[in-house]
């Protein structure tokens, strides 16, 4: 079977879900004739027609708001943010309207909002963002952020079928860089469950999205150079978060390093740290440590971007400090 890229896995998930359920439709900017800025929806217009692949004005709030309204009426809209950086334009709709809808009005709002996220691509401050922390704080939303092609497909299918709103962040650095053979058949990955990307005994690296790959590279290096056995936990879902997997890995290694590409203050790592403190304090042999981006808007120029974002060498260094604590 041929290997499939992360990007193609996303496209496959959209096609399969639109084939399976006629209430699923896509809306977003330039997703029809153009096939999306990264071609995630390439060919969908021809296959499904303009009633199910809808090009919209540059109106993120209206895209999300209209998706909510259609979802109330039984549709399953999938919104594309051309770059996830623009999801902030729909922040009000998502946090005030969409997320509260089931709770305050008993109105299900099964929408997916997806879009290219993340850095390492010289995209500068407005084409590189990781907005997950801004939404992690909002009850009513779910958040997934896959690292592999298999999870990209399986989580998108799960997101579309979910009865609640799901933010589906897809890492544009991974679009064409990671590929694998995908499982046969109807491949759905349940939301809320982490994945052990590499088994280990000495240190746990807890991460998600593109830094999963950097953590795996770091683990390889640490094994070779230091003889350290590093476990890499890929969270995949941030909301809900797989607390059992967090506790399980710490019970095994007693040392936790959290790695994310997003900025540090108020980031997801802080939340993970608090959960470990509450649920696994007695199992820790060292303080929980974080490798994250510096607290700056992400700069464009390669020396600047490389300096701000977490690199494999940073993870190796931090893991050594943690292992020697």
């Amino acid at each position: 079977m041929a290997e499939v890229t992360y990007l193609e896995a996303i496209r496959q998930a959209l096609v399969e879900e639109m084939d399976r359920d006629e209430s699923v439709f896509c809306l977003g900017q330039d997703i029809g004739a153009y096939g999306g800025a990264f071609k995630a929806t390439d060919g969908l217009l021809d296959r499904f027609g303009s009633n199910r692949v809808i090009d919209t004005p540059i109106s993120e709030a209206a895209i999300v708001g209209a998706a909510a309204g259609a979802a109330h009426m039984g549709m399953r809209p999938v919104c594309e943010m051309q770059f996830i950086d623009f999801i902030s334009c729909a922040y009000d709709m998502l946090t005030n309207y969409v997320a509260t809808s089931r709770y305050r009005a008993f109105l299900p709002c099964p929408i997916v909002v997806r879009g290219p996220s993340g850095g390492y691509v010289r995209g500068g401050p407005f084409h590189s963002q990781n907005p997950e922390a801004a939404f992690l704080h909002t009850p009513g939303l779910k958040i997934v952020y896959p690292a592999t092609a298999s999870d990209a497909k399986g989580l998108l299918k799960a997101a579309i079928r979910d009865d609640d709103p799901v933010l589906y962040f897809e890492h544009k650095y991974l679009y064409r860089r990671v590929k694998e053979e995908l499982p046969d058949g109807d491949h759905v990955v349940p939301i809320g469950r982490a994945r052990i990307a590499r088994e280990g005994r000495d240190v746990s690296i807890i991460t998600y999205a593109a830094t999963v790959w950097k953590a795996l590279d770091a683990a390889e290096q640490l094994e070779k150079e230091d003889g350290l056995s590093v476990e890499v936990l890929d969270l995949r879902s941030l909301l809900p978060m797989d607390d059992d997997a967090l506790v399980a890995t710490v019970k095994k290694t007693h040392r936790a390093l959290i790695v994310h590409e997003d900025t540090r203050t108020g980031g997801v790592a802080g939340e993970i740290t608090a959960r470990l403190n509450e649920r696994a304090f007695e199992w820790l042999d060292a303080p929980v440590m974080r490798v994250t981006a510096a607290d700056v808007p992400l700069p464009y120029s390669p020396p600047l971007e490389d300096y701000v974002l977490p690199q494999t060498a940073d993870i190796v260094k931090a893991a050594r400090v943690l292992a020697g604590y």
């Binding site: 209209a66 009000d92 709709m93 089931r102 007695e282």
Partner: protein
């Protein structure tokens, strides 16, 4: 200068910007019973709000109280133009109690909602008239003004995509026309030719802000041109004129004609909410509107001219008073919500969140599982 509603725009003696009422107007086809029904919905709106004021003064209303005094005609006349048998759906704003009643919201629901009762439509989760029921054709608003325009664009987009013969109606105030959501929503709906009627209720004030501080547009209806949709302006205090313009827009939408923007000229006689002392209103303005341009008084005069006897309307009033009394008794007897219901229904799954540990009954001191050797770390 922008368009603060004046007696010229909305008034019995004033110049009308709508067509004069003639036999070809939709309201000419209303039956006698329907014309009395219009009166009844306006009367019910006003009397129910008056009851709420009493309950508010008795501190039985938990939050703020929002009145639509003087605006009953615009809410009732417009909602009445929808076809409930076809599944038309509206999204009310805070001064559209009348529209919700027309769609089938009941006085006891409104009272329980204001009183934060456990059997209120939102089980105590939301305030005032923030609730909906898709079956009866109204969808609950949120406080963020303008946000319901994109949502109703999506509701009506689904009607279009499925080829359903349904129409949506969304209300915004003059203030909401300044929001980004209003702009994005109406533009989206216009481009998609959604079967949506957008009603801008121009009541002169957004909280304390007069229209001239809200916009430099001379008339809000002129914004329609910017979206490439027809705009109509009508006297919002003339229930039949409101019905006429809305009915035309609804039928146009149903026929595939897309969005219409309607500006209804009216006047907010109470403050933003009951606590608001309206100190910012020019002296005499409220009184002038109350005396010369009350929508209920105007409609009663109209009904008299049409030969409907006062006794018939008095009977309606008596029925409504009884209905409100009964609803008040029921609502007062309703229980408050169970506190732990607060943890249900955030997601489909899990249906209920676990209580936070410090709220678990009797679980303040916990046995901690400890790793072997914990506390003996020697570096």
């Amino acid at each position: 200068m922008p368009a603060r509603p004046t007696m010229k725009d909305a008034g019995p003696a004033g110049k009308r910007s709508t067509k004069p009422r003639t036999a070809d107007r939709p309201s000419a086809a209303l039956t006698r019973a329907q014309r009395i029904e219009l009166y009844a919905w306006m009367r019910l709106t006003r009397s129910l709000e008056e009851r709420l004021v009493n309950l508010y003064r008795q501190t039985k209303v938990v939050g703020g109280l929002f009145r639509s005094l003087g605006q009953e005609a615009d809410a009732v006349g417009s909602a009445f133009a929808l076809d409930r048998s076809k599944g038309d759906l509206l999204s009310p704003l805070i001064r559209n109690l009348g529209a919700m009643l027309v769609q089938g919201a009941t006085p006891v629901e409104i009272l329980r909602q204001y009183m934060a009762k456990g059997d209120s439509p939102t089980r105590g989760r939301e305030l005032n008239i923030h609730f909906g029921d898709l079956e009866r054709g109204f969808i609950g608003q949120i406080s963020h003004l303008g946000d319901m325009v994109p949502v109703m664009a999506g509701v009506t987009l689904s009607f279009k995509l499925r080829g359903e013969s349904r129409v949506g109606l969304v209300y915004v105030g003059d203030g909401a026309t300044s929001t980004g959501a209003f702009h994005e929503g109406i533009n989206f709906a216009a481009v998609q030719k959604c079967p949506l009627v957008v009603i801008v209720e121009n009541n002169g004030y957004a909280y304390s802000t007069p229209i001239e501080r809200q916009t430099a547009a001379v008339r809000l209806v002129d914004k329609a041109a910017g979206y490439g949709v027809p705009g109509v302006r009508a006297d919002g205090n003339d229930v039949l004129a409101v019905y006429d313009v809305t009915k035309d827009a609804v039928e146009r939408a149903r026929a595939g004609g897309g969005v219409t923007l309607i500006e209804l000229m009216t006047y907010r006689r109470k403050g933003h909410a009951e606590h608001d002392n309206q100190s910012y209103i020019p002296a005499g303005e409220i009184e002038r509107w109350a005396e010369q341009n009350d929508p209920v008084d105007r409609y009663v005069r109209q009904l008299r001219e049409d030969g409907i006897a006062d006794a018939e309307l008095t009977a309606v009033d008596a029925r409504i008073e009884r209905q409100i009394d009964e609803a008040t008794d029921l609502a007062e007897r309703s229980p408050m919500p169970d506190a732990e219901d607060a943890l249900t229904g955030i997601y489909a799954e899990p249906a209920r969140l676990a209580p936070l540990w410090f709220r678990e009954p009797g679980a303040v001191v916990r046995e901690h599982e400890r790793a072997q050797g914990w506390g003996t770390f020697d570096g």
